[in-house]
């Protein structure tokens, strides 16, 4: 199965994003997904081209080849206007400034389309099992992309960028979108980024399309900055020292220090484990108990955790339970 250009980008952009809340990182991704829709229409001759101007009329929305997700983005850009006529770079800037209301519509349209192709699913986030989230009735879910399709998109982009030879329009647009969504460091190593930089300069010199699109910056520096800071924080808390610090001060990274309360005070090790497994089952997680005992080892959704007996301050009385701590394997 092969997806279309913007679907391929959204597969990468939505992966591991919170599916229920509009987080800062998801806002960055959705702005770029909207831009990817415009680029897809440009590649597939969805616009009327006249020199540097691209034109789209409202009545074109009725064309059968216009998909639901394209329609969602085009309607948001058109607003009340009957037609839009703009240069591609300016149109990309306009589409990246959609309001939260439209960004959510774009997300729904893409998530549904990818879901229909079995390319994206919603999975429960472990944080939803935490005492605070569970008792407050806050559900936590995230998107997970089809691993095979995800790998194909990323590896094809890496191959086309890092190898000598012609680069396709699709790969060039994908590269630009990855730059604007702040994903370069996730895809390329520091050494490879030097080659990427050289490749971009090469494209800028030799291609008209690259000269038009490369100078366009649709990212918000603040949003990208926050995204990078959160990623750094998560990485720091993932190290052996960070895991220890986070265990003592869970506030640093709540998602990696989940507390699950037990039914009663001073429960035995079997009952404690039973309560943890009940919560995990309730929230739809896949788990396997690798080791029983006072500190059991549980594999939850492909990651291994230690369930360390603990207590949190619950007002007048402490609440007994276990805190899940990532088991250091590397």
């Amino acid at each position: 199965m092969e997806l279309r250009f913007s679907q391929n980008f959204s597969l990468v952009a939505l992966n591991a994003q919170d599916s229920l809340h509009l987080t800062n990182a998801k806002k960055v991704a959705l702005r770029c997904i909207a831009a990817a829709t415009i680029l897809e229409l440009y590649l597939e001759q969805g616009f009327t081209l006249d020199k540097d101007m691209v034109t789209f009329n409202r009545k074109d929305l009725e064309r059968p080849e216009i998909t639901l997700y394209q329609e969602t983005v085009l309607k948001a850009v058109l607003g009340r206007k009957e037609s839009l006529s703009d240069t591609l770079p300016h149109l990309l800037t306009v589409v990246s400034k959609l309001s939260k209301k439209y960004l959510l519509k774009v997300e729904r349209a893409y998530a549904d389309s990818l879901n229909g192709d079995h390319a994206l699913e919603e999975i429960p986030n472990l944080l939803g099992c935490d005492l605070q989230f569970d008792t407050a009735g806050v559900s936590m879910k995230e998107y997970r992309s089809n691993e095979e399709l995800f790998t194909k998109v990323i590896e094809n982009l890496r191959a086309e960028t890092l190898e000598e030879g012609l680069m396709t329009d699709e790969s060039f647009f994908m590269l630009w979108l990855m730059r604007e969504s702040g994903c370069f460091n996730d895809i390329f190593s520091d050494e490879e980024l030097k080659r990427v930089k050289a490749r971009m300069s090469e494209l800028f010199e030799n291609s008209n399309l690259a000269r038009k699109v490369l100078p366009v910056a649709i990212h918000s520096s603040l949003e990208i900055g926050v995204k990078k800071f959160l990623r750094l924080k998560r990485a720091a808390m993932g190290t052996p020292t960070g895991t220890g610090i986070n265990f003592t001060f869970p506030v640093f990274e709540r998602s990696q220090s989940v507390f699950i309360e037990t039914d009663a005070y001073f429960e035995g090790k079997e009952e404690r484990l039973r309560d943890v497994l009940t919560r995990l089952k309730e929230k739809g997680h896949n788990y396997t108990v690798l080791r029983e005992g006072t500190v059991p080892l549980i594999k939850i959704d492909n990651l291994i955790y230690e369930a360390v007996p603990s207590a949190v301050n619950g007002g007048r009385m402490p609440i007994h339970g276990v805190r899940l701590r990532i088991y250091p394997l590397y």
Partner: protein
């Protein structure tokens, strides 16, 4: 720059690029590059600085063979020996 070829077109063409080989097999780019540099994958290169072209059918078959041998627990030097025989 040019447009990306569809999967249907790639499947009927004699030669493919490394990126297209990634799309066909789902293998990682770095893995294919390693196989190529180790001489495990057949390719053609007209001049030193020109792009490498892979004969589609032969390259896909070799990749499948390598994957099969890896599943059987063979190491890369052992696989290389078998492929060279």
């Amino acid at each position: 720059m040019s447009r990306q070829r569809t999967l249907e077109k790639i499947l009927v063409s004699e030669y493919v690029s490394i990126g297209e080989l990634v799309r066909l097999t789902g293998c990682r780019y770095s893995t294919l590059k390693f196989y190529t540099e180790e001489g495990m994958l057949p390719f053609e290169q007209e001049e030193e600085n020109l792009t490498r072209r892979f004969p589609r059918a032969k390259a896909v078959e070799k990749i499948k063979e390598i994957q099969e041998l890896k599943k059987r627990g063979l190491s890369i030097p052992e696989i290389k020996d078998i492929l060279l025989q």
